[in-house]
Symmetry: C2
DNA sequence: CGACAAGTTGATGTTACTCAAAAGTGGTGG
DNA sequence: CCACCACTTTTGAGTAACATCAACTTGTCG
């Protein structure tokens, strides 16, 4: 495991570079940081909720999850961290991790270069990254609160595709997905049995292929009419904004 | 409406003062800001998702919600904003609101005093406030993803109680709750009918009183054994942290 | 008093959960 | 190569939680 990892720096530079124009120095700092990678084995905790944090990190390779465990064994994955994502420190004087972070598969991280006044765009890139992280949390809330299982999975796949595209980790309609259905269930507030059945119905609808850890989303631009049942894809795949009252 | 509002500044100073030791100047700045309150009528939008923000705000009075509306009419309340809460700007150069913010009842806000280097603790207080906001989002995700209706309502009431205590807006086990069951349903991913029935069962269990817009939470410290059914209060009211995998 | 919003109740339908077991997958060692 | 193991995916049958639809009741306020 963790054998032929592609050179990770492009992922990072690609994602952060999409958020702000980075100076050559900034890019060099990122490349340098990526040369001191920290390895985390699958299902190991990287950070524990409530403990003091030890500096911002960038994900180079692999998927991690912010996780909440209940005392009776239930588990909720709060959010995902994929290559290019930044794990930021709270800006308080005694920064404490708000949640446990677990590696969902073997992963590779590096310290995030510090941003200063003359940081060649790094500060801005981190700020945009943090703002995006918040929109992902909000989207996750809307997903869990008001979407059917079918919609949750579909919306989540679209989100992960968008996110992996930022780090050049996805093709135009496919990407590598290293999670089990069980893990997916813990993220989407479902049981693995129900995830399995819903995936089958998506395959029947010719919306999805998922074999050998690679997901292909099909007919991305199809009309809502293509969705058979009322509550399935009734909403345009959660485009941000515009929703408005009165 | 909006008639006899108690002097709002104490709420703000109480909450932010709990997060950092504020200098007299900082407190004066907060008091000053609170003298230019901005009024928002119930069900009016304060901010629209996707639009440029116009400076940080502090809630003086009333409850607001960050809201996601679906094109088919479904609504999800993502988070609540109560007196003392700070609506922060993203720190990007082109700050854009990540969600619509709607007044859930008549509300009063004021601009948040800017924080600088010598700001008497304001920056720190804002940072702690932002960190807390994030934990509330994470808790909301865990609530929606893995709790039963009964647990969701109970956990949410406990959270709101804690939060209102910070702004001295709650007694030891009661607080004013200006929301309808319908609104609560939109926050907890339920229907108002089901919220109603669940509230009744909480009343039967002698966990809750709710009359005339005032909520009383009873037997706060009771043992888990007091909870009759398996899935009801099986978990210690979501104490943060400590949950851990191997 | 009348009107409108909020809360309540009943009957019924559906989504998703539970429990249990079978079938597929990949890795390891003999 | 095969037997074995652990893990994941898949299937079936029964159930529980929550949604839906449609009244009806209870405030509240002008």
């Amino acid at each position: 495991m963790l054998n032929h990892l592609s050179p990770a720096e492009p992922a990072v530079a690609s994602r952060l570079g999409a958020f702000a124009s980075l100076s050559d120095e900034a890019r060099r700092a990122l490349r340098l940081a990526a040369e001191l990678p920290h390895r985390v084995a699958a299902s190991r905790d990287l950070v524990l909720a409530g403990q003091r944090t030890s500096g911002a990190l960038i994900v180079l390779e692999g998927w991690l999850g912010r996780v909440k465990l209940f005392s009776d064994g239930r588990r909720q994955i709060l959010s995902f961290l994929v290559p290019g994502d930044v794990i930021q420190e709270p800006r308080t004087t005694h920064p404490v991790a708000p949640s446990t972070i677990t590696a969902l598969c073997d992963a590779l991280l590096c310290p995030a270069p510090a941003s200063g006044i003359e940081d060649g765009g790094l500060r801005e890139a981190y700020a945009v990254s943090a703002a995006l992280d918040e929109t992902y949390l909000l989207r996750q809330i809307a997903r869990l609160g008001r979407m059917s299982a079918y919609e949750r999975i579909h919306d989540w796949l679209l989100e992960m595709h968008e996110r992996l595209m930022l780090a050049r980790r996805a093709g135009p309609e496919s990407f590598a997905m290293p999670l089990t259905q069980e893990t997916l269930a813990d993220a989407l507030g479902l049981t693995s049995v129900h995830v399995n059945r819903t995936l089958q119905s998506m395959r029947r609808d010719d919306v999805l292929e998922w074999r050998g850890g690679v997901v292909r989303l099909k007919q991305r631009g199809r009309s809502a009419a293509a969705a058979p049942q009322r509550s399935r894809l009734a909403l345009p795949p959660v485009r941000e904004g515009l929703a408005n009252t009165r």
